[in-house]
Protein backbone atom coordinates (compact mmCIF):
# COMPACT_ATOMS: atom_id res chain seq x y z
CA UNK A 1 0.00 0.00 0.00
CA UNK A 2 2.73 2.39 0.93
CA UNK A 3 4.83 1.27 -1.97
CA UNK A 4 2.03 1.88 -4.48
CA UNK A 5 1.24 5.29 -3.13
CA UNK A 6 4.82 6.46 -3.25
CA UNK A 7 5.05 5.09 -6.74
CA UNK A 8 1.97 7.07 -7.74
CA UNK A 9 3.46 10.25 -6.32
CA UNK A 10 7.10 10.01 -7.19
CA UNK A 11 7.99 13.56 -6.18
CA UNK A 12 6.96 13.01 -2.54
CA UNK A 13 9.49 11.66 -0.06
CA UNK A 14 8.33 8.25 1.28
CA UNK A 15 7.96 9.35 4.92
CA UNK A 16 5.66 12.24 4.09
CA UNK A 17 3.68 10.11 1.63
CA UNK A 18 2.89 7.45 4.23
CA UNK A 19 1.41 10.13 6.47
CA UNK A 20 -0.82 11.43 3.70
CA UNK A 21 -2.13 8.20 2.13
CA UNK A 22 -5.46 8.19 3.93
CA UNK A 23 -6.14 11.90 3.64
CA UNK A 24 -5.52 13.12 0.15
CA UNK A 25 -3.86 12.27 -3.07
CA UNK A 26 -2.20 15.68 -3.29
CA UNK A 27 1.55 15.75 -2.84
CA UNK A 28 2.59 16.80 0.66
CA UNK A 29 4.88 19.77 0.87
CA UNK A 30 8.32 18.71 2.01
CA UNK A 31 9.32 19.55 5.57
CA UNK A 32 11.32 22.75 5.54
CA UNK A 33 14.50 22.67 7.57
CA UNK A 34 16.11 26.06 7.96
CA UNK A 35 17.83 25.73 11.32
CA UNK A 36 20.47 28.32 10.52
CA UNK A 37 18.30 30.86 8.76
CA UNK A 38 18.19 34.18 10.66
CA UNK A 39 15.36 34.50 13.22
CA UNK A 40 14.11 30.97 12.48
CA UNK A 41 12.52 29.64 15.70
CA UNK A 42 14.06 26.66 17.45
CA UNK A 43 11.92 23.80 18.83
CA UNK A 44 11.38 23.36 22.57
CA UNK A 45 13.33 20.08 22.77
CA UNK A 46 16.19 21.35 20.67
CA UNK A 47 16.36 24.46 22.84
CA UNK A 48 16.76 22.45 26.05
CA UNK A 49 19.28 20.10 24.46
CA UNK A 50 21.36 22.96 23.07
CA UNK A 51 21.26 24.80 26.40
CA UNK A 52 22.42 21.73 28.33
CA UNK A 53 24.94 21.00 25.59
CA UNK A 54 27.02 24.02 26.36
CA UNK A 55 27.23 23.10 30.04
CA UNK A 56 28.53 19.69 29.00
CA UNK A 57 31.10 21.24 26.65
CA UNK A 58 32.16 23.64 29.40
CA UNK A 59 32.70 20.88 31.98
CA UNK A 60 34.51 18.74 29.39
CA UNK A 61 36.98 21.53 28.56
CA UNK A 62 37.47 22.24 32.26
CA UNK A 63 38.09 18.53 32.99
CA UNK A 64 40.51 18.25 30.10
CA UNK A 65 42.47 21.31 31.29
CA UNK A 66 42.71 20.15 34.91
CA UNK A 67 42.70 16.34 34.82
CA UNK A 68 44.83 16.35 31.67
CA UNK A 69 47.50 18.20 33.64
CA UNK A 70 47.50 21.38 31.54
CA UNK A 71 46.70 23.60 34.51
CA UNK A 72 48.23 23.28 37.97
CA UNK A 73 45.75 22.22 40.73
CA UNK A 74 46.99 25.17 42.77
CA UNK A 75 45.36 27.56 40.34
CA UNK A 76 42.33 25.61 39.21
CA UNK A 77 40.68 22.64 40.90
CA UNK A 78 39.30 19.82 38.73
CA UNK A 79 35.54 19.16 38.61
CA UNK A 80 35.75 16.08 40.90
CA UNK A 81 37.81 18.03 43.46
CA UNK A 82 35.31 20.84 43.28
CA UNK A 83 32.41 18.47 43.98
CA UNK A 84 34.33 16.86 46.87
CA UNK A 85 35.14 20.26 48.38
CA UNK A 86 31.54 21.28 47.96
CA UNK A 87 30.38 18.22 49.82
CA UNK A 88 32.84 19.00 52.62
CA UNK A 89 31.57 22.56 52.77
CA UNK A 90 28.06 21.34 53.50
CA UNK A 91 28.99 18.49 55.86
CA UNK A 92 31.92 19.99 57.75
CA UNK A 93 31.73 23.77 57.50
CA UNK A 94 28.01 24.53 57.77
CA UNK A 95 27.89 26.11 54.31
CA UNK A 96 24.09 25.99 54.32
CA UNK A 97 24.19 28.69 57.01
CA UNK A 98 26.38 30.87 54.78
CA UNK A 99 23.98 30.42 51.89
CA UNK A 100 21.05 31.36 54.14
CA UNK A 101 22.87 34.50 55.29
CA UNK A 102 23.64 35.62 51.73
CA UNK A 103 20.12 34.93 50.48
CA UNK A 104 18.64 36.92 53.36
CA UNK A 105 20.95 39.86 52.67
CA UNK A 106 20.13 39.91 48.98
CA UNK A 107 16.39 39.75 49.50
CA UNK A 108 16.44 42.05 52.55
CA UNK A 109 18.45 44.76 50.83
CA UNK A 110 16.56 44.34 47.60
CA UNK A 111 13.12 44.55 49.27
CA UNK A 112 14.23 47.61 51.24
CA UNK A 113 15.30 49.28 48.00
CA UNK A 114 12.14 48.25 46.15
CA UNK A 115 9.80 49.49 48.87
CA UNK A 116 11.20 53.02 48.58
CA UNK A 117 12.27 53.06 44.95
CA UNK A 118 9.06 51.87 43.27
CA UNK A 119 6.76 54.56 44.76
CA UNK A 120 9.34 57.27 44.06
CA UNK A 121 9.78 56.00 40.51
CA UNK A 122 6.01 56.00 39.98
CA UNK A 123 5.77 59.54 41.34
CA UNK A 124 8.57 60.70 39.05
CA UNK A 125 7.02 59.01 36.02
CA UNK A 126 3.63 60.52 36.79
CA UNK A 127 4.43 64.09 37.77
CA UNK A 128 6.98 65.87 35.64
CA UNK A 129 7.78 68.39 38.40
CA UNK A 130 8.72 65.56 40.77
CA UNK A 131 10.85 64.12 38.00
CA UNK A 132 12.55 67.45 37.35
CA UNK A 133 13.33 67.70 41.05
CA UNK A 134 14.83 64.23 41.61
CA UNK A 135 15.99 63.04 38.23
CA UNK A 136 19.39 64.81 37.99
CA UNK A 137 20.38 63.73 41.50
CA UNK A 138 19.24 60.15 41.04
CA UNK A 139 21.01 59.91 37.67
CA UNK A 140 24.19 61.14 39.35
CA UNK A 141 23.86 58.62 42.18
CA UNK A 142 23.29 55.80 39.74
CA UNK A 143 26.90 56.04 38.64
CA UNK A 144 28.31 55.88 42.14
CA UNK A 145 29.69 52.35 42.53
CA UNK A 146 27.98 50.61 45.44
CA UNK A 147 31.19 48.79 46.38
CA UNK A 148 33.03 52.08 46.83
CA UNK A 149 30.63 52.92 49.63
CA UNK A 150 31.63 49.87 51.67
CA UNK A 151 34.38 51.62 53.69
CA UNK A 152 32.03 54.51 54.47
CA UNK A 153 29.19 52.17 55.35
CA UNK A 154 31.44 50.20 57.69
CA UNK A 155 32.28 53.49 59.36
CA UNK A 156 28.61 54.45 59.65
CA UNK A 157 26.86 51.15 60.22
CA UNK A 158 29.65 48.94 61.54
CA UNK A 159 30.23 45.39 60.34
CA UNK A 160 26.71 44.20 61.09
CA UNK A 161 23.89 43.22 58.83
CA UNK A 162 22.76 46.81 58.30
CA UNK A 163 25.95 47.57 56.41
CA UNK A 164 25.43 44.62 54.04
CA UNK A 165 21.81 45.60 53.43
CA UNK A 166 22.85 49.18 52.73
CA UNK A 167 25.34 48.11 50.05
CA UNK A 168 22.54 46.28 48.24
CA UNK A 169 20.23 49.21 48.85
CA UNK A 170 22.63 51.73 47.31
CA UNK A 171 23.32 49.42 44.40
CA UNK A 172 19.64 48.82 43.60
CA UNK A 173 17.69 51.86 44.74
CA UNK A 174 18.73 54.43 42.13
CA UNK A 175 18.55 51.96 39.27
CA UNK A 176 15.02 50.92 40.20
CA UNK A 177 13.89 54.54 40.62
CA UNK A 178 15.03 55.57 37.17
CA UNK A 179 13.82 52.48 35.36
CA UNK A 180 10.40 52.61 37.02
CA UNK A 181 10.11 56.35 36.23
CA UNK A 182 10.85 55.67 32.56
CA UNK A 183 8.34 52.80 32.44
CA UNK A 184 5.56 54.81 34.05
CA UNK A 185 6.37 57.94 32.03
CA UNK A 186 6.15 55.91 28.84
CA UNK A 187 2.47 55.16 29.43
CA UNK A 188 0.32 55.23 26.33
CA UNK A 189 -1.14 58.74 26.08
CA UNK A 190 -4.19 57.50 24.20
CA UNK A 191 -5.13 55.22 27.11
CA UNK A 192 -4.81 58.14 29.52
CA UNK A 193 -7.03 60.25 27.26
CA UNK A 194 -9.56 57.42 26.97
CA UNK A 195 -9.67 57.16 30.76
CA UNK A 196 -10.27 60.90 31.07
CA UNK A 197 -13.18 60.74 28.64
CA UNK A 198 -14.63 57.91 30.75
CA UNK A 199 -14.70 60.21 33.73
CA UNK A 200 -11.47 59.31 35.52
CA UNK A 201 -9.84 61.98 37.71
CA UNK A 202 -6.09 62.30 38.35
CA UNK A 203 -6.20 59.71 41.09
CA UNK A 204 -8.04 57.27 38.85
CA UNK A 205 -5.48 57.85 36.09
CA UNK A 206 -2.58 57.00 38.41
CA UNK A 207 -4.21 54.09 40.21
CA UNK A 208 -6.11 52.50 37.38
CA UNK A 209 -4.21 53.42 34.21
CA UNK A 210 -0.57 54.32 34.88
CA UNK A 211 0.19 51.74 37.57
CA UNK A 212 -1.57 48.72 36.03
CA UNK A 213 -0.14 49.60 32.63
CA UNK A 214 3.41 49.89 33.97
CA UNK A 215 3.18 46.92 36.36
CA UNK A 216 4.68 44.29 34.03
CA UNK A 217 7.56 46.64 33.20
CA UNK A 218 8.13 47.39 36.88
CA UNK A 219 8.17 43.68 37.71
CA UNK A 220 10.65 43.10 34.91
CA UNK A 221 12.86 45.90 36.26
CA UNK A 222 12.82 44.32 39.71
CA UNK A 223 13.76 40.95 38.24
CA UNK A 224 16.73 42.50 36.48
CA UNK A 225 17.93 44.47 39.48
CA UNK A 226 17.60 41.43 41.75
CA UNK A 227 20.20 39.82 39.50
CA UNK A 228 22.56 42.76 40.06
CA UNK A 229 21.93 42.62 43.82
CA UNK A 230 23.66 39.23 43.82
CA UNK A 231 26.88 40.78 42.56
CA UNK A 232 26.78 43.53 45.21
CA UNK A 233 26.21 41.12 48.09
CA UNK A 234 29.30 39.09 47.32
CA UNK A 235 31.42 42.23 47.19
CA UNK A 236 29.92 43.33 50.51
CA UNK A 237 30.76 39.94 52.01
CA UNK A 238 34.29 39.90 50.68
CA UNK A 239 35.11 42.83 52.96
CA UNK A 240 34.65 42.71 56.72
CA UNK A 241 32.26 39.82 56.99
CA UNK A 242 32.16 36.69 59.12
CA UNK A 243 29.47 34.77 57.27
CA UNK A 244 27.98 34.33 53.82
CA UNK A 245 29.11 32.89 50.52
CA UNK A 246 31.44 35.83 49.88
CA UNK A 247 33.09 35.32 53.25
CA UNK A 248 33.60 31.62 52.51
CA UNK A 249 35.25 32.57 49.21
CA UNK A 250 37.70 34.96 50.96
CA UNK A 251 38.52 32.25 53.51
CA UNK A 252 39.15 29.70 50.78
CA UNK A 253 41.39 32.16 48.95
CA UNK A 254 43.65 32.33 52.01
CA UNK A 255 43.91 28.52 51.92
CA UNK A 256 44.32 28.42 48.13
CA UNK A 257 41.29 26.13 48.00
CA UNK A 258 40.17 26.83 44.43
CA UNK A 259 37.67 23.97 44.60
CA UNK A 260 35.69 25.73 47.34
CA UNK A 261 35.90 29.08 45.54
CA UNK A 262 34.54 27.63 42.33
CA UNK A 263 31.87 25.73 44.23
CA UNK A 264 30.80 28.96 45.93
CA UNK A 265 30.61 30.78 42.62
CA UNK A 266 28.54 27.98 41.11
CA UNK A 267 26.17 28.01 44.10
CA UNK A 268 25.61 31.75 43.57
CA UNK A 269 24.92 31.12 39.90
CA UNK A 270 22.42 28.34 40.65
CA UNK A 271 20.54 30.34 43.29
CA UNK A 272 20.48 33.37 41.00
CA UNK A 273 19.12 31.27 38.17
CA UNK A 274 16.44 29.70 40.39
CA UNK A 275 15.27 33.02 41.80
CA UNK A 276 15.19 34.43 38.28
CA UNK A 277 13.05 31.51 37.09
CA UNK A 278 10.70 31.94 40.03
CA UNK A 279 10.45 35.69 39.39
CA UNK A 280 9.77 35.13 35.69
CA UNK A 281 7.08 32.55 36.44
CA UNK A 282 5.46 34.89 38.97
CA UNK A 283 5.45 37.79 36.47
CA UNK A 284 3.91 35.60 33.81
CA UNK A 285 1.17 34.56 36.22
CA UNK A 286 0.45 38.05 37.51
CA UNK A 287 0.57 39.76 34.12
CA UNK A 288 -0.77 37.17 31.74
CA UNK A 289 -2.28 39.94 29.61
CA UNK A 290 1.14 41.43 28.84
CA UNK A 291 2.36 38.23 27.24
CA UNK A 292 -0.63 37.90 24.88
Amino acid sequence: MQATSSKALPQVPPRAASASTAVSSLPVAPVRRRAFAPLEPVGARARVLLGLGFFVVFVLVWSLATLGGFVSPTFLASPPTMVKEGWLLFTEYGFIGDIGMTVWRVFGGFLLAAVFAVPLGIAMGTWKTVEAFFEPFVSFCRYLPASAFIPLLILWAGLGEMQKLLVIFIGSFFQVVLMVAVTVGGARRDLVEAAYTLGANSRGIVARVLIPGAAPGIAETLRLVLGWAWTYVIVAELIGSSSGIGHMITDSQALLNTGQIIFGIIVIGVIGLLSDFAFKALNRRLFAWAAL
Binding site: T197, L198, A200, V209, A288
Partner: protein, 266 residues
Protein backbone atom coordinates in the same frame (compact mmCIF):
# COMPACT_ATOMS: atom_id res chain seq x y z
CA UNK B 1 -19.39 85.76 23.79
CA UNK B 2 -22.85 87.24 24.17
CA UNK B 3 -24.39 84.64 21.90
CA UNK B 4 -27.84 83.24 22.57
CA UNK B 5 -27.71 79.46 22.93
CA UNK B 6 -30.80 77.99 21.36
CA UNK B 7 -32.39 75.39 23.54
CA UNK B 8 -32.64 72.65 20.92
CA UNK B 9 -28.95 73.00 20.13
CA UNK B 10 -27.19 70.74 22.53
CA UNK B 11 -23.70 71.41 21.28
CA UNK B 12 -22.65 74.86 20.25
CA UNK B 13 -19.22 75.52 18.76
CA UNK B 14 -18.68 79.26 18.86
CA UNK B 15 -15.84 80.91 17.00
CA UNK B 16 -13.46 78.04 17.75
CA UNK B 17 -10.04 78.21 16.12
CA UNK B 18 -6.82 76.43 16.91
CA UNK B 19 -3.24 77.50 16.33
CA UNK B 20 -0.45 75.07 17.16
CA UNK B 21 2.88 76.48 18.21
CA UNK B 22 5.87 74.33 17.27
CA UNK B 23 9.01 73.81 19.31
CA UNK B 24 10.80 76.59 17.40
CA UNK B 25 7.88 78.97 17.86
CA UNK B 26 6.48 78.52 14.33
CA UNK B 27 2.70 78.82 14.27
CA UNK B 28 0.43 76.52 12.33
CA UNK B 29 -3.22 77.35 12.03
CA UNK B 30 -5.12 74.07 12.20
CA UNK B 31 -8.63 75.51 12.42
CA UNK B 32 -10.11 78.77 11.19
CA UNK B 33 -12.81 80.17 13.46
CA UNK B 34 -15.74 77.77 13.30
CA UNK B 35 -19.38 78.25 14.29
CA UNK B 36 -21.38 75.06 14.37
CA UNK B 37 -24.44 73.79 16.18
CA UNK B 38 -25.59 70.25 16.79
CA UNK B 39 -29.13 69.46 17.86
CA UNK B 40 -29.96 66.90 20.50
CA UNK B 41 -30.14 63.35 19.13
CA UNK B 42 -28.72 64.43 15.80
CA UNK B 43 -26.20 62.33 13.92
CA UNK B 44 -23.64 64.59 12.26
CA UNK B 45 -20.63 63.44 10.30
CA UNK B 46 -17.64 65.66 9.69
CA UNK B 47 -16.09 64.80 6.35
CA UNK B 48 -12.74 66.08 5.22
CA UNK B 49 -9.39 65.21 3.68
CA UNK B 50 -6.63 63.98 6.00
CA UNK B 51 -4.84 66.65 7.96
CA UNK B 52 -7.67 69.16 7.59
CA UNK B 53 -8.14 69.66 11.33
CA UNK B 54 -11.40 67.72 11.72
CA UNK B 55 -9.91 65.51 14.42
CA UNK B 56 -8.63 68.62 16.20
CA UNK B 57 -12.18 69.97 16.32
CA UNK B 58 -13.44 66.69 17.74
CA UNK B 59 -10.68 66.67 20.34
CA UNK B 60 -11.63 70.19 21.36
CA UNK B 61 -15.25 69.09 21.80
CA UNK B 62 -13.99 66.10 23.81
CA UNK B 63 -11.99 68.48 26.00
CA UNK B 64 -8.70 66.78 25.14
CA UNK B 65 -7.47 69.84 23.26
CA UNK B 66 -8.19 73.52 23.81
CA UNK B 67 -9.27 76.21 21.34
CA UNK B 68 -7.05 79.22 20.73
CA UNK B 69 -10.13 81.40 20.35
CA UNK B 70 -13.81 80.80 20.97
CA UNK B 71 -15.55 78.26 23.13
CA UNK B 72 -17.62 75.11 23.03
CA UNK B 73 -20.87 74.90 24.98
CA UNK B 74 -22.64 71.68 25.88
CA UNK B 75 -26.17 72.17 27.20
CA UNK B 76 -25.29 75.78 27.90
CA UNK B 77 -22.15 74.98 29.87
CA UNK B 78 -18.67 75.75 28.66
CA UNK B 79 -16.45 72.71 28.04
CA UNK B 80 -13.27 73.01 30.11
CA UNK B 81 -11.88 69.49 29.85
CA UNK B 82 -12.72 65.86 29.20
CA UNK B 83 -15.64 64.32 31.01
CA UNK B 84 -17.95 61.34 31.16
CA UNK B 85 -20.77 63.32 29.51
CA UNK B 86 -18.95 62.98 26.16
CA UNK B 87 -18.04 59.41 25.27
CA UNK B 88 -15.18 59.14 22.78
CA UNK B 89 -14.20 56.32 20.45
CA UNK B 90 -10.76 56.81 18.91
CA UNK B 91 -9.32 55.45 15.71
CA UNK B 92 -6.48 53.73 17.56
CA UNK B 93 -7.46 50.82 19.77
CA UNK B 94 -7.65 52.31 23.24
CA UNK B 95 -9.02 49.45 25.31
CA UNK B 96 -7.03 48.94 28.49
CA UNK B 97 -4.99 45.83 27.65
CA UNK B 98 -4.86 44.64 31.28
CA UNK B 99 -8.66 44.57 31.59
CA UNK B 100 -11.05 42.08 30.05
CA UNK B 101 -13.86 43.13 27.72
CA UNK B 102 -16.34 43.29 30.61
CA UNK B 103 -13.90 45.17 32.86
CA UNK B 104 -13.17 47.66 30.08
CA UNK B 105 -16.87 48.35 29.65
CA UNK B 106 -17.23 48.82 33.40
CA UNK B 107 -14.25 51.20 33.66
CA UNK B 108 -16.24 54.43 33.62
CA UNK B 109 -18.95 53.01 35.89
CA UNK B 110 -16.32 52.02 38.40
CA UNK B 111 -14.71 55.45 38.30
CA UNK B 112 -18.12 56.85 39.07
CA UNK B 113 -18.46 54.52 42.06
CA UNK B 114 -21.48 52.65 40.77
CA UNK B 115 -22.59 49.59 42.73
CA UNK B 116 -20.98 46.35 41.59
CA UNK B 117 -24.30 44.71 40.75
CA UNK B 118 -25.42 47.69 38.65
CA UNK B 119 -22.08 47.73 36.85
CA UNK B 120 -22.53 44.10 35.96
CA UNK B 121 -26.06 44.60 34.71
CA UNK B 122 -25.09 47.55 32.52
CA UNK B 123 -22.00 45.91 31.08
CA UNK B 124 -23.98 42.77 30.24
CA UNK B 125 -26.62 44.86 28.49
CA UNK B 126 -24.06 46.62 26.31
CA UNK B 127 -22.03 43.49 25.65
CA UNK B 128 -25.20 41.97 24.22
CA UNK B 129 -25.94 45.14 22.29
CA UNK B 130 -22.62 45.06 20.41
CA UNK B 131 -22.78 41.28 19.96
CA UNK B 132 -19.88 40.29 22.18
CA UNK B 133 -21.62 37.68 24.35
CA UNK B 134 -19.15 34.94 25.14
CA UNK B 135 -16.18 37.31 24.92
CA UNK B 136 -16.69 39.02 28.29
CA UNK B 137 -13.54 37.54 29.76
CA UNK B 138 -11.30 37.95 26.74
CA UNK B 139 -8.44 40.43 26.83
CA UNK B 140 -8.34 43.07 24.07
CA UNK B 141 -5.34 41.45 22.38
CA UNK B 142 -7.38 38.29 21.92
CA UNK B 143 -9.95 40.18 19.86
CA UNK B 144 -10.02 41.29 16.22
CA UNK B 145 -9.90 45.00 15.43
CA UNK B 146 -13.65 45.11 14.78
CA UNK B 147 -14.42 43.46 18.11
CA UNK B 148 -12.10 45.87 19.91
CA UNK B 149 -13.91 48.84 18.42
CA UNK B 150 -17.28 47.30 19.31
CA UNK B 151 -16.03 47.01 22.89
CA UNK B 152 -14.88 50.64 22.76
CA UNK B 153 -18.34 51.72 21.58
CA UNK B 154 -19.97 49.69 24.36
CA UNK B 155 -17.55 51.22 26.87
CA UNK B 156 -18.47 54.73 25.76
CA UNK B 157 -22.21 53.98 25.73
CA UNK B 158 -22.23 52.23 29.10
CA UNK B 159 -21.34 55.56 30.68
CA UNK B 160 -24.62 56.97 29.32
CA UNK B 161 -23.01 60.12 27.87
CA UNK B 162 -24.97 63.04 26.42
CA UNK B 163 -22.89 62.81 23.26
CA UNK B 164 -20.88 60.24 21.42
CA UNK B 165 -17.76 61.54 19.68
CA UNK B 166 -16.15 59.22 17.16
CA UNK B 167 -12.82 59.94 15.49
CA UNK B 168 -12.56 57.69 12.43
CA UNK B 169 -13.41 54.73 14.65
CA UNK B 170 -13.52 52.26 11.76
CA UNK B 171 -10.58 53.72 9.85
CA UNK B 172 -8.23 50.86 10.68
CA UNK B 173 -10.71 48.11 9.82
CA UNK B 174 -11.02 46.22 6.56
CA UNK B 175 -13.80 47.31 4.25
CA UNK B 176 -16.26 44.48 4.99
CA UNK B 177 -15.90 44.85 8.75
CA UNK B 178 -16.22 48.61 8.46
CA UNK B 179 -19.55 48.33 6.65
CA UNK B 180 -20.91 45.96 9.30
CA UNK B 181 -19.72 48.27 12.06
CA UNK B 182 -21.48 51.21 10.43
CA UNK B 183 -24.72 49.24 10.42
CA UNK B 184 -24.20 48.23 14.04
CA UNK B 185 -23.56 51.80 15.18
CA UNK B 186 -26.47 53.13 13.16
CA UNK B 187 -28.72 50.45 14.64
CA UNK B 188 -27.65 51.47 18.14
CA UNK B 189 -28.27 55.12 17.35
CA UNK B 190 -31.69 54.35 15.89
CA UNK B 191 -32.73 52.63 19.12
CA UNK B 192 -30.82 54.70 21.72
CA UNK B 193 -30.89 58.18 20.12
CA UNK B 194 -27.72 59.81 21.27
CA UNK B 195 -26.22 62.97 19.86
CA UNK B 196 -23.37 61.79 17.65
CA UNK B 197 -20.47 63.65 16.11
CA UNK B 198 -18.61 61.35 13.76
CA UNK B 199 -15.38 62.30 12.01
CA UNK B 200 -14.44 60.42 8.84
CA UNK B 201 -12.74 60.78 5.48
CA UNK B 202 -14.90 58.05 3.94
CA UNK B 203 -17.69 59.58 1.84
CA UNK B 204 -19.97 56.51 1.85
CA UNK B 205 -19.65 56.26 5.60
CA UNK B 206 -20.40 59.95 6.06
CA UNK B 207 -23.60 59.78 4.00
CA UNK B 208 -24.86 56.41 5.17
CA UNK B 209 -24.84 57.26 8.85
CA UNK B 210 -25.57 60.95 9.02
CA UNK B 211 -28.56 63.24 9.09
CA UNK B 212 -26.15 66.01 8.23
CA UNK B 213 -22.71 65.97 6.65
CA UNK B 214 -20.38 68.87 7.39
CA UNK B 215 -17.62 69.13 4.81
CA UNK B 216 -14.27 70.47 6.00
CA UNK B 217 -11.92 72.50 3.88
CA UNK B 218 -8.21 71.74 3.61
CA UNK B 219 -5.99 73.04 6.39
CA UNK B 220 -6.52 75.49 8.01
CA UNK B 221 -9.86 73.76 8.41
CA UNK B 222 -13.27 75.36 8.34
CA UNK B 223 -16.70 74.00 7.56
CA UNK B 224 -17.13 74.58 3.88
CA UNK B 225 -20.60 73.18 3.26
CA UNK B 226 -23.28 71.26 5.02
CA UNK B 227 -25.48 68.73 3.30
CA UNK B 228 -28.65 67.30 4.80
CA UNK B 229 -29.18 63.57 4.31
CA UNK B 230 -32.88 62.80 4.43
CA UNK B 231 -33.06 59.03 4.14
CA UNK B 232 -35.60 57.68 6.61
CA UNK B 233 -34.59 55.48 9.53
CA UNK B 234 -34.06 52.59 10.00
CA UNK B 235 -31.70 52.63 7.05
CA UNK B 236 -30.62 49.57 5.17
CA UNK B 237 -27.31 49.14 3.38
CA UNK B 238 -29.33 48.96 0.16
CA UNK B 239 -29.72 52.75 0.14
CA UNK B 240 -26.07 52.96 -0.81
CA UNK B 241 -26.96 52.02 -4.37
CA UNK B 242 -29.99 54.33 -4.66
CA UNK B 243 -29.87 57.28 -7.10
CA UNK B 244 -30.36 59.78 -4.26
CA UNK B 245 -27.35 58.38 -2.42
CA UNK B 246 -25.32 58.51 -5.64
CA UNK B 247 -26.31 62.13 -6.11
CA UNK B 248 -25.11 63.15 -2.68
CA UNK B 249 -21.99 61.08 -3.12
CA UNK B 250 -21.19 62.80 -6.42
CA UNK B 251 -21.58 66.21 -4.81
CA UNK B 252 -19.43 65.34 -1.83
CA UNK B 253 -16.83 63.72 -4.05
CA UNK B 254 -16.44 67.00 -5.91
CA UNK B 255 -16.22 69.00 -2.69
CA UNK B 256 -13.64 66.70 -1.13
CA UNK B 257 -11.65 66.43 -4.32
CA UNK B 258 -11.23 70.18 -4.52
CA UNK B 259 -10.00 70.24 -0.91
CA UNK B 260 -7.65 67.29 -1.36
CA UNK B 261 -6.15 69.01 -4.39
CA UNK B 262 -5.70 72.17 -2.37
CA UNK B 263 -4.02 70.17 0.38
CA UNK B 264 -1.63 68.49 -2.05
CA UNK B 265 -0.70 71.77 -3.71
CA UNK B 266 0.15 73.39 -0.39
Amino acid sequence: MGRIVMSQNQLSIQGVSRVFTGTKGQRTQALQPIDFEVKENDFVTILGPSGCGKSTLLRIVAGLDFPTTGQVMLDGERIEGPGADRGVVFQSYTLFPWLTVAQNIRFGLRERGMREADQKERSEFFIAKVGLRGFENHFPKQLSGGMQQRTAIARALANDPKMLLLDEPFGALDNQTRVLMQELLLGIWESARKTVLFVTHDIDEAIFMANRVAVFSARPGRIKTEIAVDFPHPRSYTIKTSPEFMDIKARLTEEIRAESMAAVEH
